[in-house]
Symmetry: C2
Subunit: 215 residues, 2 copies
């Protein structure tokens, strides 16, 4: 809902601010992931599990339309977290992330997670200065999500497929889901896992360690 | 992402077109619902189940970012369906719905479902000319969704809580979920059900028959 000129200005400004964020993160040697997925796919649960592994090597920026329930969950897991309440907006922008970065102590951090607003559509086209967009989908959503919402999956460097513990109770083909992701991006890393049982988390941690080592 | 003036123009134009849609639907005595929920919450499954009950008394307008998978599912269920592919846009607008209405035979229809793009945030503030916004959420998404995404739940006349068949396999409080919905809108109708087992569908059909009778 916008005039074309206004939209281009806002996009150019966002891109410049994202580049500032990227430069700051590079200076500190921090590997940054932008987590994008629908409400309830398990983004915060994944961060809780990841906090137990990376502890004080990680920090989190939490985006929510409303409430700071998620930042509270992350802090309870013993990790630095800054909440951004978007007040209705459907995605984070680079300005908000830049302000949140100023509130974090980045000196001893190896990895930063930016948990975007729960939304499989809008956040995918907005650069926040991250290294990798990470899509988080989950089994109960159905195995055709990449085909139906391709904009994210074309851009995502990794796709986490959460809630594999429910496989026995659902009709879901991990092969179809992973195949659709690879059709849209042949270089994507697909990581099926369960935040509830811990299945597949070792592969997720190994993926993150590789990202850190490459910085 | 827009200039303020452009946004106001677009909103005013959308409202006028929504009023046109409302008038057309009223002329035909059609009860119209705008289904809003995250990707994979079960909007299309709910419509398949509903098609088996209402058969040729109903029609469907299907909104998707990409693919016509959902309209195909609805047509297979024996019901008139028009697909709107938004090509990236995160919600339907009243203009698209007006064009789709022109493609439907409305003469013998009692009820129209507009299945919005899978998104719990953006579609909630865009009037399409419907009688009722119906939120569709599902157990695997977690029981705190109304609190975290209030804009939809303040406006929704009904909330369907789908996938109750998974209750034994999840930590989910139906009381908390329903209570949060009622806190945001004391008049809301909350309908827990399972599209898989059929549990709760009779209450959903009764709700729809009441809506039809009131037109």
């Amino acid at each position: 809902m916008s005039g074309r000129k206004g939209e281009i200005d806002v996009r150019a400004k966002n891109r410049a601010l994202a580049d500032d964020n990227r430069q700051l993160l590079r200076k500190h040697g921090i590997f940054a992931l932008n987590l994008i997925g629908s409400p309830g796919c398990g983004k915060t649960s994944l961060l809780e599990r990841t906090a137990a592994h990376f502890a004080d090597r990680m920090a989190v920026i939490e985006g929510d339309v409303k409430t700071d329930l998620d930042a509270e969950r992350i802090r309870t897991a013993g990790v630095q977290a800054v909440q951004i309440e978007t007040g209705g907006a459907c995605h984070l922008n680079a300005d908000q992330v830049g302000r949140a970065l100023n509130e974090l102590d980045l000196s001893d951090i190896d990895i930063l997670f930016i948990e975007n607003v729960g939304n499989l559509v809008c956040p995918s086209s907005v650069d926040l200065g991250e290294d990798v967009k990470t899509a988080v989908i989950s089994l109960p959503e159905g195995d055709e999500k990449a085909a139906k919402y391709p904009a994210l999956f074309v851009r995502a460097g990794a796709v986490v497929i959460n809630k594999t513990d429910l496989l026995a109770h659902l009709e879901y083909s991990l092969e179809r889901a992973a195949g659709d992701c690879r059709k849209l991006n042949s270089k994507v890393t697909v990581l099926p896992l369960s935040c509830r049982t811990g299945e597949g988390l070792d592969e997720w941690f190994a993926y993150l360690e590789e990202g850190i080592a490459a910085k």
